[in-house]
């Protein structure tokens, strides 16, 4: 799991003004809320610096969020503005929590989890098709998946599995060959395009194409898969009846749990009457993928490229693994950000440092939640190590480890 990225965390429509929402991303509890004054979204660490209560259980007072335990009031920058028990005293410098930059784009709320200054942040993926409501009809959905998000991501961009896992939906098991790829890459994404054999048309489309059911001789269907770091994918299928684009974001709740949020666009059957079917189709595909991904061992991606056997049609995944290894080497893995609160808040949690920690160096000593590993957490690691299920992504600090090319 990586910090220093924009994470799509919620559909814009699903966050109303005034009601805070608790979310968990990268193992860290966060609270998001929409400010009454201008409707913009705030994202804070969900850990009150006083005694560690969850701010998300509190209420809004103006644009501030009030801790439900002792009523400390936090503004959108994570600073405590009021301590009700001692209104006459000053506010301690340490009375602050991490606040994360937020952008709303492409129907989603994106939160920057990391401390990079604005100009160094990786881009938010280009999902502009989502905004083109003239051309596309959209449905959205959410799917909780008990698997590691990177396995899900790899599955999402794997073209060779469609004829087998999605037989009938858009795979054609009688013609499983994956022809030559066209590839487009940047440091932050990789798109692979191929032309696949379509399955036999079914339902409404078949009735609109009587005689079009010759399975072996139908025109090829352009299909492309794209990943954007750290966790977004796009599946595009140019069916004879129109285009299908399924954007999804695989939100790592923790190492073993992923919340998938998708926006599925279509240029055909754009009436509201077809929304239910469109949503059902995406869920069907996700369920088929879930059944396979859940059998993949080990659950977490191996660190070493050569640990699994790659063939040519795995190109897109291989690219992803290369990039993730670079990120791990750059220290962007969040495993180092497990903290234990010093002082009164005896809390163990993960807190990803926010940009303000870098922006205001004078405050360096003011952060109550420091990036310190607790003995207990290290103990748990030792246990897991003994059981042999320690995620290899945890080994970032291992000194001098050989990294095979």
């Amino acid at each position: 799991m990586f910090k220093n990225f924009w994470y799509g965390v919620e559909f814009s429509d699903d966050l109303v003004v005034g009601t805070p929402k608790r979310i968990k991303v990268l193992g860290q509890q966060l609270v998001i809320y929409r400010k009454p004054s201008d409707g913009s979204v705030v994202c804070l660490s969900d850990l009150c610096v006083h005694r560690g209560a969850a701010l998300s259980a509190g209420e809004l007072k103006g644009d501030c969020i009030v801790c439900p335990y002792h009523g400390w009031e936090y503004n959108e920058r994570g600073e405590v503005l009021k301590i009700p028990a001692h209104p006459e005293k000053g506010i301690p410098r340490k009375a602050r929590i991490d606040a994360y930059p937020v952008v709303e784009r492409h129907k989603m709320i994106w939160v920057f989890l990391g401390d990079l200054p604005e100009e160094e942040r990786p881009p938010i993926p280009d999902w502009s098709a989502v905004d083109d409501t003239e051309t596309y009809r959209a449905v959205t959905g959410t799917f909780l998946w008990k698997s590691n998000y990177e396995r899900i991501l790899e599955n999402g961009v794997d073209i060779a599995h469609t004829p087998f896992v999605h037989r009938g939906a858009f795979g054609n098991p009688e013609k499983p060959e994956v022809p030559e790829f066209e590839v487009e890459t940047s440091p932050w994404h990789c798109k692979a395009s191929v032309k696949l054999n379509p399955p036999k048309p079914k339902g409404l489309w078949a009735r609109m194409n009587p005689g079009g059911g010759d399975l072996l001789n139908r025109p090829l269907v352009p299909v492309s898969t794209t990943w954007w770091l750290p966790n977004a994918i796009l599946l595009e299928v140019d069916l004879p009846m129109g285009k299908l684009k399924i954007f999804d974001i695989n939100i790592p709740i923790d190492e073993e749990t992923t919340l998938v949020k998708f926006i599925a666009l279509r240029t055909f059957f754009k009436g509201r009457w077809a929304d239910k079917d469109a949503r059902r189709r995406v869920f069907k595909v996700l369920k088929q993928d879930e059944a396979v991904v859940d059998t993949v061992r080990p659950e977490l991606l191996p660190y070493d490229l050569s640990d699994e056997l790659h063939v040519r049609s795995d190109y897109n995944q291989v690219m992803y693994r290369r990039r993730r290894r670079e990120l791990i080497e750059a220290g962007w893995s969040v495993e180092g950000n497990t903290i234990v609160g010093e002082g009164p808040a005896r809390v163990e949690a993960r807190v990803v440092p926010s940009p303000v920690r870098r922006e205001v160096p004078e405050l360096a000593s003011a952060w109550n939640f420091k990036e310190v590993r607790s003995k207990e957490l290290l103990g748990q690691r030792a246990e897991r190590e003994e059981r042999g299920d320690l995620p290899r992504t945890d080994t970032v600090e291992a000194p001098g480890e050989e990294v095979p090319a």
Partner: protein, 258 residues
């Protein structure tokens, strides 16, 4: 597949398309394609190098389906700012269920539509039929009629006499036009309701004095008569007399003539 089929994303085209696709979907209709596998008819015009429109025809999958034929006619000529889409879904001649129609037009920057269930019996003498087939649309009819941004379209009483008093026929500003989807849904839902259950005995008895098939043939001959609806003269100017007559022929009865 032709560009017109895939990319009819104009406001007027979109409304009509969503409507007929839903009917095809819910009634399980099957498309009658041309020999080349394309739309039933592709319309060409001396005014444009590209096709200016198409006729698509769908029929019942079997004889138990009450909807006998659906005809969609689309005409788009950007050069003269015409974008016209209409759909008629005809119920079997022997059933007293109204036909459904939606006409959705954009011309010279303004929008217009008509939406109706076409009566299958004389409304002045068949109150039971009227109360079953049409009267439930009254609240929707009244609500839509007084929406801002809509104004009555120019359709004379003579032409109106072939349709129902519940016909919504309006010019519309863009914002009002985009809001018509829900009225179409209300009319469609009512119509699907009529199709879903057997025709009540009281209604069957009420219209027993009407030769439904004969009346249907005569009614359709009038609705689609160039003498009644001047749109046919415009269509003829666009695609020629022969093609116009061919389009008209698709609407007069439920035959599918290649």
């Amino acid at each position: 597949m032709s560009a017109t089929e895939a990319e009819s994303t104009s406001l007027s085209g979109g409304l009509c398309r969503r409507t007929w696709e839903r009917i095809v979907h819910e009634r399980g209709l099957v498309e009658a394609r041309s020999a080349s596998g394309r739309a039933f008819r592709t319309l060409v015009s001396p005014m444009s190098p590209d096709p200016v429109g198409e006729v698509r025809v769908f029929t019942a999958a079997d004889e138990t389906e009450p909807v006998a034929k659906l005809v969609y006619v689309g005409l788009t000529v950007r050069a003269i700012g015409l974008d016209s889409h209409m759909v008629f879904a005809f119920v079997r001649p022997d059933l007293p269920v109204p036909h459904f129609t939606l006409d959705s037009v954009q011309g010279q920057g303004s929008y217009a539509f008509h939406l109706d269930l076409i009566p299958r019996a004389d409304l002045g003498t068949h109150l039971t039929y009227l109360d079953w087939a049409h009267a439930p649309l009254t609240p929707a009819f009244e609500e839509v009629s007084q929406r801002p941004g809509l104004s009555k379209a120019a359709i004379g009483p003579r032409q109106f006499a072939m349709m129902s008093p519940w016909m919504l026929v309006h010019r519309a500003e863009e914002a009002a036009f985009t809001g018509i989807d829900d009225a179409v849904t209300t009319y469609l839902d009512h119509w699907f309701g009529l199709l879903a259950a057997p025709v009540p005995d009281a209604v069957v008895a009420d219209v027993a004095d009407t030769d439904l098939s004969l009346r249907d043939a005569r009614n359709r001959a009038n609705i689609f008569s160039p003498d009644v609806d001047h749109v046919w003269a415009q269509v003829a100017r666009l695609v020629g007399d022969e093609a116009m007559e061919d389009v008209r022929a698709q609407l007069l009865d439920n035959e599918v003539r290649a």
